[in-house]
Symmetry: C2
Subunit: 728 residues, 2 copies
């Protein structure tokens, strides 16, 4: 990409004094003999021919990235609206950047990163000189590794046939065009050169047009085609008409770029990924690009390599970071698998073995005199969700997910406790006690608090609560027959977005410990800053024997899960034979791609130099959801309860009967309206939620939540009858 | 990296006439005043200052990549052995490449790719001129995306402070050194410049030394550290002493680079990954680099995005390729998940629903008058293995993996048939009939064949076999009580590396069809050319209702699985409510990284321009394991049976009793000895196997198999007593 031309011209009052702006219009006829107009705008320029980031300093003429992008966006929009000539039917826009693809822009951010939110198709101006093959290939790769598509490469001929080497490298998939050499004489007006180039430029234009049509055509078709060949999980296809399919062209940081046709015109529109793509996402734009480099490196250096009895840097480093972070103070071993569900299956197997060992159960004693096998059960929380494979489902209370229709083998091999939940309503934090507990405890009038922290402190200190919790849990535990059970404890039942009172969980852990029941924390959802701490166990102030992690573990690029365990759990598998080892593993166990991504993400999120949201000496995230606005939402008459903690803001709408069920379509119109506002949501029955990354700027959170508040208000107005009755 | 110097010098007789080779020795004192010697070798040079790949043509002086690498390797080895001076204790080797990092080498292969097998740490000579920031960053990325580590960047000062921008981009993680400007006067002898540079070069040397020590230190520690914090799957840690841990520094194509200390010296040694890293690997070096670019692109363009009700290019393209490939002619929907085990759980859920629908079973009729739930069972093959999650395990016959010790919840919810297996022994292919079938069928004398194809044709045509199979299966099926079962059919029981007679499987499929029992093919192991066809179903000549794929699906870089299904299966989930949909999904369902890798790998393997092993119009792979050598192995007295098909060559050693079990350490010494020969193996009890990729050159396969043959021979000699008794 040739350097920007410096032209002394009209100054744009909107920019600082020394930045130049020029607009020129040339009229003529195009190659088909039709009237044509060329509008040239130099949007920003500096006097000295140096990198913009230096010129900014030397000429004291900075342009902020946001301002530059906004002015470019407006320029494109005005051209689209007709520009100078009013022609809308046939026009071309070419943005020429300054310097090389990775030259810094005015702020110092590389231009390939700066313009990435637009992800416009690129023409790479290559280099036909000696050394130009390498330079062109590297530039091409820099663009590809930023997620750009390149329609063509064009270069000046220096008689070295660089295009041949380039085409071979590109496997003929990107056209390479050659221009005749530039005239050496500086007084040459280039007219002759341009006429020599005519066919090259006509061909280039054709290529750009073809690439455009192909891209747009594919974007138009993709929704319908997807509906024909994909089988989406948790989706009743009959309820998804083609036009409601979201066509995602790309993502950058917290935002999708979504293709939409409005008034017969094609648009690529940003949408905030408010469900963090099933709670996996954490990266901002900078981390995403860093992860891209790490993923390329990990693929080239390792691809995947066999794990058992082998050691390689990414797996070891990732394990060390986990044990020194979320596992600090208790865990000594990392067992890798692919997703939360498999991590839970592994955890359950670990717990069974440890329980068997501690309680003297072995193959011989596992069967009674009638040959009936000992029945191991887990102790878990109602409403919790630990994954979809059978073993993980058996540790969940019966629900729509475990019905006969879904998996006839499910039997629910657990004792499921009803936990107390904490929530915000009408601006106050309260605890909701399940029936079994209400019965047991005296009605305490003042159980509402200004903040979650206040509620948390109170519940931790309250002897009334502690006694009630203790009595309930003891009674439940007594139902387990003689110690033949393992336990499985949930920190946070992700299914319904309920926040369980930490004090209750602490009592439960203590009671299990006393009975030598291994304790598993399912941190698949809560781990890695989801709830404002690296590990949600920190909120409880007690440690598990086993814990499961996935989702945010890799910063949200590839599947990877880990089950951490104490040395005592690990030792339960020690023996003289392989038969005693834990015989569970997946082919991609500890795959270097996942471990590399995790290594980067774990460090990125907890480093104050990359995560400005850290506070309290790096222990916790600052408040991301504006407290006042959250209280306002919780006070809206259409809202029943809110949970805002860490990166999560879940809002339960008032709804009754089937409207409040998982399969309910109650929130559909609300979600649709928010998508129109640039917020991508997916409801869980009558619960909607916003989720950001650990590094997301609180300002972004506020903007999104404000949109949600307004949309809820519109939604409530649109169905007053339903809501007025339930609000009573 | 500056251009290669052209020097007229001594010619190397080993190379072609016009390639130049020069060796010069300079003596002096080093910076600490000690005697020092500089040995300069110009290994290859051409007359004209153009890219080597052009010079090769113009000067008719080619050097093959293999020759170039070999001569470089020998040069490094001779330097290590003492070179000219005999000094071994303190020496430095610097390889200066020609042109830019991505300049073509003599063969046209880019130099960054050409030298990748060595993966030497790099010093990048950057560019301090205008435009140099971009050029340096792009070159750096090109190297990182090839899996190189860069110890430092060094550039010439042009007063533009390029180093500041570079350090900011690199987050200060790679040092950037600045040299004073080169003298402009061409007659300058550079002595003064060198003395100005003295401190820079001393610092550079220190950096290289530090980087070296850090790397070597880590490689020394990694085995022991891994043994302390990792929990390897399927591994009895007590049986893995630190010194037996394989330290993998990197992989390229089919080979690991393994760190070894021999005689107190550090070596990085190639090892052929003969277990294809748990059967996941397919890429050759070229595909691996292509995948690296695609992984970087996919991370930057998408990272991960939410799947349900959304459409994005990689997921759609991957589904289209699968449906048009392995699913051609039967499948119409792709359901994505993370690994083979989850793909199987999904398949089972699909089959249950379809079976229920076809047999009029629904929630109300699923319970008998006593409230007992209908017992769904699968029909599967003994010895098969479908993954480690509970649902997948329930579809497997009892084994060491499903024991009470491993998972007390396992009950084995299936009817397990004993299948006939095909194998090669003493140079002849035969079928081994299980007891139940032997009893049923007349002993046919001539059941041995020259080739698998001959055996295959015969078993397909033999009416004796067909009747025997049919009777056995009918009898087994009659044990299923009244149609309350779904079925689950294995093509290939990967656990024991058995090859099941395709004719048997065909009969089984036909019988299930007649009873409206849905048929699942587990192609997790066999899919994507493992057995020489894109889908192993092609070997059977019949199609499933549901099939599962994983492992090679992504070419072996990241976990991804897919369950394909017919439209009839899909329709069984159609309804007016979400409750009827298939409520199973993982957060990273259809993650763009996996789908992009799969898209590249699927196309690469079936394209004759990228996979030279294709034959029969692209339908099948040519014979990869030398037929004669395979027969020879099968005739060795220490070998019981061999299965060589497609990319697999499995060898069952003669062993008795516990030596033949999964937990047996029988083959350990053989495997250890092969690792010394550069073949990385992992035994399955008394079975060892070699596995290559679909593009691996048959010559490579032959070399590895030959090593195995020799090792088996040594192994047999070392324990003659055991073998002579079992050989009788």
């Amino acid at each position: 990409m040739p350097g920007v031309e410096r032209v002394e011209g009209e100054r744009n009052a909107g920019l600082r004094d020394v930045c130049f702006y020029e607009e020129r219009i040339l009229s003529g006829v195009d190659c088909e003999g039709k009237d044509s107009e060329l509008l040239c705008k130099t949007m920003h320029a500096w006097k000295e021919a140096i990198s913009p980031h230096l010129a900014v300093v030397r000429e004291n003429a900075g342009v902020e990235d946001a301002v530059l992008l906004q002015s470019l966006k407006e320029c494109l929009a005005s051209t689209f609206r007709g520009g100078g000539s009013g022609r809308k039917d046939n026009f071309w826009c070419v943005i020429e950047t300054a310097g090389g693809v990775a030259s810094p822009g005015p702020s110092g951010v590389l231009q390939c990163d700066l313009y990435r939110p637009f992800r416009l198709p690129g023409i790479l101006v290559g280099d036909g000189r000696l050394g130009g093959i390498s330079c062109t290939i590297s530039s091409y790769e820099t663009l590809k590794f930023r997620g750009y598509d390149i329609s063509a490469i064009i270069l000046e001929d220096h008689g070295l046939s660089n295009e041949t080497a380039l085409l071979s490298y590109l496997r003929n998939k990107v056209p390479v065009l050659v221009m005749p050499p530039f005239p050496c004489d500086p007084s040459d007006d280039l007219i002759r050169w341009f006429s020599e180039c005519r066919n090259v430029f006509i061909y280039l234009q054709k290529l750009m047009h073809t690439a455009y049509l192909k891209r747009i055509g594919r974007l138009h078709d993709i929704g319908a085609k997807a509906g024909e060949v994909l089988w989406w999980p948790f989706t009743q296809h009959k309820l998804v008409p083609t036009e409601t399919v979201t066509v995602i062209d790309s993502r950058l940081g917290e935002n999708f770029s979504v293709h939409k046709v409005i008034d017969n015109c094609d648009f690529i529109i940003p949408q905030f990924d408010a469900c963090a793509s099933w709670w996996t996402q954490g990266p901002d734009a900078t981390l995403q690009i860093e992860l891209a480099r790490d993923m390329g490196y990990a693929t080239s250096r390792f691809g995947h390599v066999m794990f058992p009895e082998n050691a390689y840097e990414p797996a070891l480093h990732c394990a060390e970071l986990m044990l020194g972070g979320v596992g600090k103070g208790w865990a000594s071993r990392a067992y890798f698998s692919d997703n939360g569900s498999t991590a839970i299956e592994i955890a359950i197997k670990m717990a069974f073995r440890k329980f068997s060992l501690d309680h003297g159960i072995h193959m011989e004693t596992a069967y009674d005199s009638m040959g009936k096998k000992m029945d191991f059960r887990v102790l878990a929380l109602s409403g919790s969700y630990h994954g979809d494979t059978l073993g993980a489902m058996e540790a969940q209370a019966p629900s729509i997910y475990t019905s006969f229709l879904q998996q006839p083998w499910y039997s629910g091999r657990g004792l499921f406790l009803d936990p107390p939940t904490a929530y915000l309503s009408n601006g106050r934090w309260s605890i909701s006690l399940p029936t079994a507990l209400q019965f047991r405890m005296e009605k305490t009038d003042d159980m509402s608090f200004d903040s979650f922290d206040d509620l948390f402190s109170w519940s931790r200190e309250s002897s009334v609560l502690a006694e009630g919790y203790s009595a309930y849990i003891t009674e439940q535990l007594s139902q387990l027959s003689g110690g033949s059970e393992s336990t499985h404890i949930v920190i946070h039942g992700a299914g319904g977005m309920h926040l369980i009172d930490p004090a209750f969980q602490r009592v439960l852990v203590r009671k299990c410990r006393a009975r030598k029941i291994p304790v598993i924390f399912d941190e698949v959802f809560t781990g890695f800053w989801r709830l404002g701490r690296e590990s949600a166990a920190e909120l409880l102030g007690c440690m598990p024997d086993i814990a499961c992690y996935a989702k945010l573990l890799t910063g949200g690029v590839v599947p990877l899960a880990a089950t951490l365990a104490t040395e005592a759990i690990f030792e339960a598998f020690s023996g003289d034979s392989k038969a005693e080892a834990l015989l569970h593993g997946h082919s991609y166990s500890a795959h270097p791609m996942g471990c590399s991504a995790a290594t980067k993400a774990i460090q990125w999120f907890k480093d104050p130099s990359t995560n400005p949201n850290l506070e309290g000496g790096g222990e916790s995230l600052k408040e991301l959801w504006d407290g006042e606005l959250v209280r306002q939402v919780s006070s809206h008459f259409a809202v029943r309860r809110v949970v805002a903690l860490g990166t999560l803001c879940a809002i339960e709408l008032r709804a009754e009967g089937s409207d409040a069920s998982y399969a309910s379509l109650y929130a559909s119109s609300l979600v649709r309206s928010l998508r129109g506002d640039g917020v991508y949501m997916r409801p869980l029955g009558n619960v909607i939620y916003l989720m950001c990354g650990p590094c997301t700027h609180p300002h972004v959170c506020r903007t999104q939540l404000h949109k949600v508040y307004q949309a809820i208000d519109r939604f409530a107005q649109s169905q007053p009858s339903k809501l007025s009755s339930t609000a009573l």
